[in-house]
Symmetry: C2
Subunit: 180 residues, 2 copies
Amino acid sequence: MAHIKLKDEELPGIEGLLDYRPETAKPLRDLAETLLRGPSSLSSYEREIIAASVSYWNGCHFCHTSHAAAAAAYRNSGLDFIEDIKAGFVETEVSDKLRTLLHIARRVLWNGKNVTARFVEAARHHGATDMEIHDTILIASAFCMYNRYVDGLATWAPGPNEAYEAMGERMAYVGYGVSG
Amino acid sequence: MAHIKLKDEELPGIEGLLDYRPETAKPLRDLAETLLRGPSSLSSYEREIIAASVSYWNGCHFCHTSHAAAAAAYRNSGLDFIEDIKAGFVETEVSDKLRTLLHIARRVLWNGKNVTARFVEAARHHGATDMEIHDTILIASAFCMYNRYVDGLATWAPGPNEAYEAMGERMAYVGYGVSG
């Protein structure tokens, strides 16, 4: 049960919080929409992988599974992909550029200062642009926020991956601008 | 020097990043404006103290000093207050409610799951409402984002407290909606 009395206790994860406080929901939704679906030379698929990976490393089951399901929706290859994100892409081919961007995202986890020039240079070496490095660090930082918000208020989340399939499709193809 | 080539390298901290990427700047500014200056039963002074404290604990000099300067502007009692935020309020009287909310904010720092019922109950015992507990956790989470964004891209920041006085006044009395 959440730490506070929500208006609708059946809404999972961040959905119950966005419903509880519409004033803060708006910029939080706008930020997710811009970061994950706005104009960028990183695909939404790549950006959802960064979001899902950071959420997994932070131990946030709701954010990890929902964003991994969104990435799976872009792939259209089934929900096993969710487990492969946790495993660090044993089954799935990902580009060297995305791997080096994920290394940067991993460094953001505990403190921004852990992103050292060496990690930035490695990403650049594999073709990442300044804007892609910027977007990676901002997505990783933003999910350090969303994860803490969702877990800090002790929201509930469905367990099995299958429960996130429709949610992932909605996130990928409808977006973050509307609730439910 | 920042990890990426900014458009205006003279802008400190987050200002250079907001100028670099206007698309993401908008929801980031809207979120700060809503969290720190929007309608809430916590005063903007109290909310800036939470933001400044989290930023100090995360070791983000730019965010700590600028938001502490904003809190100091609301107090109108000089910049020594910035040091007293670092010290945990040795000189300044703060309410028991704010102290218990700061304990919650401190728990958010590494992982949201560290906010246990005991900390929430303590805040409630000292008069905090559900909405105030919500806002505290979201402000703490959001500054875990802003701090990582600012430090992850290795932005520069002025050193001395005095360099933040005008910035703090602008944040307190003009807000986060407009740059520079």
